[in-house]
């Protein structure tokens, strides 16, 4: 039993990683992972929304009528998203400015709705907590590692500070969406290679 719960947590990190294996919500991943600061902000906002909304759905799953579950899920996603948006605007104005429209767009991020529909609606609170933590962490590490590579090699900076010498010619393709796609493909290839070798 205990081992099962732990597996619900670890599956999000690699085996069922939301970006690399399930491959959902890539649009905002590509857009936000150009900067390390943006990626960290997005990870925090996304994790908050995912964990809160998955837990809410799991807690109320017995009283949510099946026919109207999707509107209710959307309320459970939209409320925490709006809270994140307002709090960010009030206390981290510069971060919220540079993230632009992608924080409010967490509402329509398919990872959140996907996890709710596929997992939280059917499982108990403890399993859901583990799942949401694992998925949030799995999302965060991929987007942050991506952003480090894209910012350092694509712009020569790290968190806005120059780390590579001025003579370094930035590979600006990495800051564009196609470059992001190439990187994600490389990540998927590496992860699949490791997972195959293990099994």
């Amino acid at each position: 039993m205990k081992k099962n719960i732990f597996r619900e947590f670890t599956k999000g990190l690699a085996r069922e990683n939301p970006i690399l294996i399930i491959m959902l919500g890539l649009c905002s991943v590509l857009a936000v992972s150009t900067d390390v600061a943006n990626a960290i902000g997005m990870s925090l906002g996304f994790s908050f929304v995912l964990i809160i909304s998955e837990l809410l759905v799991s807690i109320f799953r017995k009283i949510i009528p099946d026919e109207v579950r999707i509107p209710i899920f959307l309320i459970f996603i939209a409320v925490p998203t709006t809270i994140v948006d307002l709090v960010m605007k009030a206390y981290f104005p510069s971060l919220s400015k540079s993230m632009g429209v992608f924080i409010p767009l967490i509402v329509v991020n398919c990872i959140v709705l996907g996890r709710i529909e596929a997992f939280a609606y059917k499982k108990n609170i403890l399993e859901t907590l583990m799942d949401s933590l694992g998925m949030a962490l799995g999302y965060s590490w991929v987007i942050i590692v991506l952003s480090v590579i894209r910012e350092v090699l694509g712009k020569g900076t790290f968190l806005g500070l120059r780390v590579l010498p001025k003579a370094y010619l930035p590979m600006s393709i990495l800051t564009f969406p196609p470059g992001g796609f190439f990187l994600i493909a490389v990540f998927i290839a590496i992860l699949n290679g490791i997972l195959k070798r293990r099994s």
Binding site: P65, P93, K97
Partner: protein, 186 residues
């Protein structure tokens, strides 16, 4: 029938609780957001005109549409330390991803700087219109220049439309400034 009422009521109750929760969060974040906005305007004005003795809003210029989707929200007159006057025009215009709100600084027949307050341009590309590396080229630029990217304006690679939008806004608002504010005073 009973089922419909039950489902409808559940959605209603959950939506109401959600709305109340949001209203509560909004009630304490909104004053902070407004404060941040005024602070960012004040900081931006001080950045464009570092040597100044305060500024005040001009009541005659409010909500003016000057065509090209450019809308002037308000105008500030800045008293400079050397006795001269600078003007800050706060305006919105269309960028690539929607409305952009910026402050434009003018003095005599020159642009003294731009500061982007709000935008929804593509992060990492169009959003670079906020960076100093891009906006510093407009400082002390003569308003009779063409303001065309790739000619006299260094465009952001991958964000031609955003670069064009901001250059065009400086030029168009500059024309308005020269005719109605700077010229009108003479």
């Amino acid at each position: 029938m009973k089922k419909i009422i039950k489902s409808g009521l559940t959605v209603f109750i959950i939506a109401t609780i959600g709305a109340l929760l949001l209203a509560w969060v909004y009630s304490f974040t909104n004053p902070k957001i407004e404060e941040q906005k005024f602070l960012s305007i004040k900081n931006a004005i001080e950045e464009i005109f570092p040597k100044q003795n305060g500024f005040n809003e001009l009541p005659d210029f409010k909500d003016i549409n000057i065509g090209n989707n450019i809308n002037i929200i308000n105008v500030y007159k800045v008293k400079l330390e050397d006795g001269k006057e600078g003007f800050i025009i706060r305006a919105t215009y269309s960028g690539y991803g929607g409305k952009v709100e910026s402050l434009f600084g003018y003095q005599d027949d020159k642009c003294k700087g731009v500061y982007v307050l709000e935008h929804s341009e593509t992060p990492g590309l169009g959003s670079l219109i906020t960076s100093k590396d891009f906006t510093k080229q407009f400082i002390d630029k003569n308003l009779n220049d063409p303001f065309i990217p790739k000619q006299d304006v260094q465009a952001i690679s991958g964000a031609t439309i955003s670069s064009k939008a901001i250059s065009n806004a400086i030029k168009t608002i500059g024309k308005f400034y020269l005719e109605k504010i700077y010229g009108g005073k003479k």
